[in-house]
Symmetry: C2
Subunit: 126 residues, 2 copies
DNA sequence: CACCTTATTGATAATCATTATCAATTAAAT
DNA sequence: ATTTAATTGATAATGATTATCAATAAGGTG
């Protein structure tokens, strides 16, 4: 049975208030004033993913986490930033119905490309 | 400019003939009789991903690679195996058109759940 | 409230994956 | 055949994640 520790509460709070899909490293920085050991951050985040409280996003530059779940992602191949992509769920259901998959727990959908900001920067410098 | 080395040719060949989405470790085993250093496997695979010859699949259990591209994936949360999911591309195009994304280079779509085999095993043992 | 049991924490060591280094090799151009 | 520079392989270095374990604290019980 899980215990309501100050560290766990703190980490959940920080994740809930953050919309930037932080990595573990960023998460450690976000709680750095709270004196939480990094082993605890790892353990807590893993347990939260297991309990479906947060979502794990596997990206080319490493693992990111997201407290919010009802959406998808765009990943910039240049700057590695993640932005949210909101899609009509009926379209995803539609997709699933054409496959012969059942009992899908998560749909991990990441669009990869170059974000507008990086495109602009590239135009300026070339 | 890229050189046609025996190691690179060998690694491409192995990837082309493998349908199991190997990890780097598995790839090293697959070429173990060819005396190719693991640093070379890493370098070659990275270069192939960069050149769009193979696709990188980021999963909870690590990185997998796939020579084939025109499909999507199912990832089993129990046994970590990946299986191919073939979907009509018009459905994906449809999805994209409802977002305001342009110039998407890859669509990384992974359905997560428990595979049939693991479901059966679980039923047997509980 | 005091006590007990046990999960959790934090510091650290250990492990695993990936990248960097660099001398020796080899592809490919001349 | 010679030259040049990219590639290789062995190994060291780095970075990310997990394991270990004594100390702490959550939450149940009388």
């Amino acid at each position: 049975m899980e215990r309501k520790t100050v560290q766990r509460q703190e980490i959940i709070e920080v994740l809930k208030n953050n919309y930037n899909h932080p990595t573990i490293k960023e998460l450690c920085e976000l709680v750095s004033d709270k004196n939480i050991g990094q082993a605890t951050v790892y353990r807590t985040v893993n347990s939260l993913v297991n309990d479906d409280v947060i979502r794990r996003i596997d990206c080319p530059d490493g693992v990111h986490y997201d407290y919010r779940k009802e959406h998808y992602h765009f990943y910039c191949l240049k700057c590695n930033k993640i932005t949210d992509v909101f899609l009509d769920n009926s379209l995803i259901d539609n997709l699933l119905s054409t496959s012969n998959l059942t009992d899908i727990k998560h749909v991990n959908l990441v669009f990869e490309g170059i974000c507008d900001n990086c495109k602009k920067l590239n135009k300026d410098t070339c």
